[in-house]
């Protein structure tokens, strides 16, 4: 009787241990996103691994998948897609480090784009603190404006100063949109990109302060 009880206990213990092992293995794995089926198998495996790393470090994974899908849609080869996805992963990490753990996904995404465009991490952190000081919760729009300025030929240092000055002035969403549109029109009409950005930034700050 005693022997049979002990044997039962041993069996129960072994079965418990046996069940634990596969659980632990399964917890570290996630099914590959079905949308990645548009990639070839090698690229898909690498992209899935990067996405998995992002998930483990609690970075947004959707921008990485989007970057891969964008590459597939644009006909890029696997190597180029992997390079782009890995680069974005690094930029997302840097953006979150600069913005802080409380940053929203869209901010991290916009921050990664801005870093890709040349925004130093220090300026990104500065932009966050300046915006908070000015009573603005999110920095998505200023970062989008920064990236736009760079894409339109404004030097990185000038673009950083301009965006920081706009944030200090406490611009609202509509003001940012108007600033971006005015700079674009100025450049399209032949103005120097840096001059247009600086002039419009001064104007926006004065307008926001009610002095214009």
């Amino acid at each position: 009787m005693i022997r049979s009880t002990r044997a039962t206990v041993v069996l129960v213990a072994l079965s418990c241990l046996g069940q634990v092992a596969p659980w632990r293995g399964a917890s570290g794995q996630h099914a590959t996103d079905a949308r990645l089926a548009r990639l070839d198998s090698t690229t898909r495996r690498v992209v899935a691994a990067v996405v998995d790393s992002a998930r483990k470090t609690r970075l947004p994974t959707e921008p990485l998948i989007d970057k891969a899908l964008e590459g597939a849609q644009k006909g890029a080869d696997g190597g180029r897609i992997v390079t782009a996805v890995r680069g974005l992963y690094t930029e997302l990490r840097s953006a979150r480090a600069a913005l802080g753990t409380g940053a929203a996904t869209e901010e991290i995404n916009a921050g990664a784009n801005a870093i890709h465009a040349g925004l130093p991490m220090r300026t990104l952190s500065q932009l966050r603190s300046v915006s908070q000081h000015a009573g603005r919760a999110r920095v998505t729009l200023p970062l989008t404006v920064y990236t736009d300025l760079i894409a339109r030929g404004v030097p990185a240092a000038v673009a950083s100063d301009v965006v920081l000055s706009l944030a200090r002035a406490g611009l609202r969403n509509g003001d940012y949109a108007m600033f971006q549109r005015n700079v674009r029109l100025d450049i399209e009409n032949g103005a120097d990109a840096a001059t247009a950005a600086q002039t419009r930034a001064r104007g926006a700050a004065l307008h926001n302060a009610g002095r214009l």
């Binding site: 964008e70 996904t105 465009a117 894409a151």
Partner: protein, 199 residues
């Protein structure tokens, strides 16, 4: 030690082994004395707190240790799964706002492109998984070379582009640009909801 004869020892022993007969009066007296003694009421917790000596074999100790280990691992795994689900859920909620054909708060956005010689204009971006086959993102010709489509876009920051005649990628001329040198084709950016969507 005194030298006692063997037979005397046997006689004493047999005398001591002989059953002692007590009369009923003696038993009654003893039991009455016991009943008269104050009673100790043992509550369950008192019994549980009372120190005991338990004898356990090494095998049972090993099995108990194995069970304890299994329970600890299971608990750790369970907590890990819960935390992972929470993390995944958080990312998924964020995902709703940042791309794909996902649920989440959406706003109507009109995309307009002037392309007089175009035969077909589509909008592709992270909000539709960069998939040009979505019919709701195919622009309609409104006359005079103006193509437009209105679509419900999730709140958040998005990158997108126009695809003209299934081959030509064109950035939205009226929207902020994204420096996108990864694939060598231009993109535009849009912030739906003003970038103040709740996290």
């Amino acid at each position: 030690m005194r030298n006692i004869p063997e037979r005397w020892i046997h006689r004493v022993a047999s005398e001591l082994r002989r059953p002692v007969r007590l009369d009923d009066e003696f038993d009654r007296g003893v039991m009455d004395a016991v009943r008269a003694m104050p009673r100790h009421r043992h509550r369950p917790w008192t019994r549980m707190l009372r120190a005991r000596t338990i004898t356990v074999s090494p095998m049972i100790t090993g099995v108990a240790a194995a069970l304890l280990l299994a329970v600890a691992l299971s608990a750790g795994h369970f907590i890990g799964v819960l935390r992972a689900n929470r993390a995944t859920a958080r990312v998924d909620v964020a995902t709703d706002r940042s791309g794909g054909t996902k649920p989440g708060p959406r706003r109507s956005v009109q995309f307009v492109l002037v392309a007089p010689s175009a035969r077909k204009v589509q909008v592709v971006g992270d909000f539709n998984d960069w998939d040009a086959s979505h019919q709701e993102y195919v622009a309609q010709h409104r006359g005079g070379g103006v193509w437009a489509v209105t679509a419900a876009i999730p709140e958040g920051h998005h990158r997108y582009s126009f695809v003209v005649d299934d081959s030509l990628w064109v950035a939205d001329p009226s929207a902020p640009r994204v420096l996108d040198d990864d694939y060598g084709m231009p993109n535009s950016a849009i912030v739906v909801g003003g970038g103040d969507a709740a996290q």
